[in-house]
Amino acid sequence: MRERDVPQEGNATLAGHRKAVYAVGEDGKLRVVPSRGWEVEEVVTRQAVEDLERRAREARSPLEYHMYRARMDIAMLAGAVGIWRWRLRRHLRPQVFARLPLRLRRRYAEALGIAVEALARVD
């Protein structure tokens, strides 16, 4: 990539940040050039973010909603909370979740980075 070809397309996903890339200057030497982003990155990042947003919208319970909101999946959240995946899958059912002890709900809230009260509702 030549220095003048470094993409400067002002990606929304970078939110005004610039990232450093290496490109070939006029003298043939590679050097750091700040880039405002490339549309390709925006396309694939938005694709991944939108997929998670869709899953959050289609969630069957508040816990599932918050899981996808936090950009996690079952394996990730189970690992973060420190429980088995099948247990987490069960907890995704609203009836089961409502009966969980406060101690366990605290662990979920902690792993998701939200308040315990927020865990029970979709905002």
Partner: protein, 333 residues
Amino acid sequence: MRFQHQHASHCESGVMSSLLRHHGLALSEPMAFGLASALAFAYLPFIRLNGLPLIAYRMPPGAIVRALDRGLDLGVRFETFRSPEAGMARLDALLDEGKVVGLQTSIYWLPYIPPDLRFHFNAHNLLVYGREGDEYLVSDPVAETPVRCARQDLQKARFAKGVLAPKGRLYYLTRSPPAGDWRALGRRALARTAHIMLHTPLPLVGVRGIRWLARAVERLGCAEDDGAAKLYIGHIVRMQEEIGTGGAGFRFIYAAFLQELAATTGYGPLEALAARLVEIGDEWQQFAFAAAKMIKRRIAFEPPALAARLRDIASREQRFFADLNQARLAWAL
């Protein structure tokens, strides 16, 4: 000495470059990256991220710090902690001693990272060079300028759970680095990278890994409305371009390393190899470009066409690393 922030392309090589510079050894980011033999390729379908395979264009996290520690005899000390409180107290104590400390963090919990880029990646490296009350002075290599991070956020980022959980890992140098023998270090680093790319016994790593990925891409459904297939393609590109610099990005850094090694040691043949690697990086970018156009429906969705591109890149890289190894062997000591 006042700490100086440096904008870098990749977090771990950027951290090591800044850390060494702070300790009096001016080593650029590409040199840190190349001497640590950090370039690679790996396609690991049995490790799933949101249901998609792990695709890496470099060595696993931590490899750069460890390789430079070994090669340059830096006496890096690593510490991990069971309790977050102990981990934060130790960080404070080291900062009070005037040390610059490297941290392994989860990028998801760092508030200064743009929201769209915050995914659960647990091996983001950054440096902390000071503290003002409850705010830490952070030099994150991928940020343009130094940033600040509140204690609570930093603690959360350091003690995130899951794959590659950092467990509060911090590291710092215990002695001033001596100037290295760039020639010997460089030769060894080239040999290691060529070996990883061409001769790793596992067929998922190196050039053979690219071909394996090509086969997986070829098997994807071709239907325009196949969301899963498009997510898969998008994931390859995202792993390549967004998360940690990217496949093309790493090729460009390594090319910069070859150029700099040629200039430092006076071994000319590396110059031409650097130019060839830049071309290979351009091919990776073209692959990403074509993939994004397919996702956006600007051109027909044809996974086999992408697979063909990957195969072409694989054979180019195979020739390139074989020639790199030849150049290394011909390099008189």
